[in-house]
Symmetry: C2
Subunit: 259 residues, 2 copies
C-alpha cells in the first residue's frame, strides 16, 4: 500500500513514524507534503519518502492521508483531489465530518486516532484507539487496513458519533489537563513543587480504569461541604477566573452525583 | 508506638491497614473508635485492635490519629483530649489547620496523606506523599516516624501551605475526575463505551509526569479555534451546565497559555 502523507505536524509525524515501523507489512510512504517544505523534507527523510510540492504529488498512490489543521482541509482538498481519482483520501480530524471530501474525491473516509500528541513525547500507536469511516467499501477497507497496521483497537464510527467522541475527548483530556495546569499554578504561587501532585494525578487516572468516574469521585463537592468550599473559594479571591471554575465544577460534581 | 485510631472511613481504613502491615517496625494499633461501633469493630478485627467507646479510650497511647470528617473534628477534639494529656494528637485533614487542637491538647499536629481513597480500591501507601506538621518537637517527631513507616515521601508543611496544597489537589484530582465523569456522560448518551477513553486518560496523566501541564496542553482551546469551539458548544445546547463548563474551561486554557 503506497501512502502519501499530507502534513508534518505532531500527529502526522507520529503516524508516519508508526507506519514506517510497519513497512515490512507492505506499507510504504512514498511522499510527504507540508505547507512548509523544510518540514516535509525533515519528515520525509525519517520515513524513507520524498518531500513533494503539491503539484508533484503522485496520482497513483493508494492512500492520501491528510493530517493538517481542521480549517486547512476545505482549502487543501479541492487542490489535492483534482486529477487524483483513483486513491482513497482519508483525514485524521476528530471533529470534521467525512463529507468534507464530497464532490472532490471518489473514495474517501476518516482515520481518527484518539490521543494527545506532543512533539516532546513519542507515543506507541499500538494502544491508541483509531476510529475509521469510509464512503464506500474500498475506502473503508483501506482505512481499516491502515489502522490495523498500527493499532490494536480499531472501531468503525459514523461522522455524527465521532463529533460526540471528540467532544468527550476534549473533556477527558484537554480539560483534565487544564485542571492539572491550574493545580500547578496554585502550587507554584506558594512555593510548592508540582512533583508532589504527580502520584495523585496518576492514581486519579488509574482509578477510572476500573471504577466509573462517578464511583471514583471524591472531594468536598461530593457532599457539597459548604465550609470547605467557601474557605477554598476565599483562597482564590484574587483570581476570579479560577474562582469561577472552582464554583461551577463544585456545583456540577454535586449535581452529577445527585443524579 | 501505640496508636489509637479515631475513625473508620476510607482513609482511616487504608491507613490502619498500612500501619498494621508495618507492625514489625514497632507500631501497634491498640484501639479503634468510630461513631458507628459496628464499623469500629470491623476495622479493629482487621488490624488486631480493640473497638472502644469514647470513654474507654486509653489515656496512655503514644498517638491518637483522628481520621474523621472535617466538621467532626471541633466536636470530637474536646471530648477526646480531655484527660489524655501525654499522647500526640494528629488529624489527617487537608484543609483543617493544626490550631484546631489548640487549648485542648499539649502535643498535636497533622498527618495529611494526599491521595484519593475509594472503598472499592486498595492503595499502597508507599508512594503517597504525606505532609506533616507538629506543635512541638515531640509531635513533629511522632508524625514523622509514623509517616516514614508507611510512606517514602514525607514533607514538612505549615498549615498555611497545606491549605493551598489541598486546594491544588482539588483541581488535579476532584475536578480532573469530574472531567472524566462529564466525558463518560457524553459517551453514554451517544451509545459509546467509556472504555475507548481510558488510554487517552492514562496518557494525559502520564504526560504531566515529565512535561509541565502547560507544555502538555492540546485541543481546540489552545489556539482558541472558534469554529471547533462553537460547533462543540452547539452539541451541548441541551445541557447549559456542561456548556458553561466547556466555555469557561476553553477560555481559561487560552488565557493560561497566552500569559
Amino acid at each position: 500500500m503506497r501512502v502519501v502523507m499530507i502534513g508534518s505536524g505532531r500527529l502526522a509525524t507520529q503516524l508516519a513514524l508508526s507506519l514506517y515501523e510497519q513497512r515490512a507489512q507492505g506499507i510504504s510512504i512514498v511522499q510527504v507534503w507540508s505547507r512548509t517544505s523544510e518540514n516535509a523534507r525533515l519528515l520525509a527523510d525519517r520515513v524513507g519518502a520524498q518531500a513533494a510540492a503539491l503539484d508533484d504529488i503522485v496520482t497513483d498512490a493508494d492512500v492520501y492521508l491528510l493530517s493538517v489543521k481542521d480549517d486547512a482541509l476545505p482549502v487543501l482538498i479541492p487542490q489535492l483531489c483534482k486529477g487524483r481519482t483513483e486513491g482513497v483520501f482519508l483525514h485524521t480530524a476528530g471533529s470534521v465530518p467525512m463529507s468534507v471530501f464530497q464532490g472532490f474525491a471518489a473514495h474517501y473516509g476518516v482515520f481518527y486516532p484518539m490521543q494527545t500528541f506532543s512533539k516532546e513525547r513519542p507515543v506507541s500507536f499500538e494502544h491508541i484507539p483509531v476510529f475509521i469511516e469510509g464512503s464506500d467499501e474500498q475506502a473503508l477497507h483501506c482505512a481499516e487496513t491502515l489502522a490495523q497496521t498500527v493499532s490494536r483497537s480499531v472501531y468503525r464510527l459514523t461522522s455524527e458519533e465521532r463529533r460526540y467522541l471528540h467532544l468527550a475527548a476534549v473533556f477527558a483530556c484537554n480539560f483534565a489537563n487544564h485542571c492539572y495546569a491550574l493545580s500547578a499554578r496554585i502550587l507554584d504561587e506558594h512555593g510548592l513543587p508540582f512533583d508532589v501532585m504527580k502520584p495523585l494525578i496518576m492514581e486519579t487516572a488509574e482509578k477510572v480504569q476500573t471504577l466509573s468516574p462517578l464511583q471514583a469521585q471524591t472531594g468536598p463537592a461530593v457532599r457539597y461541604d459548604e465550609t470547605v468550599i467557601e474557605a477554598q473559594k476565599a483562597l482564590l479571591a484574587d483570581n476570579p477566573r479560577m474562582c469561577d471554575i472552582y464554583d461551577i465544577m463544585s456545583r456540577s460534581i454535586h449535581e452529577e452525583l445527585k443524579g
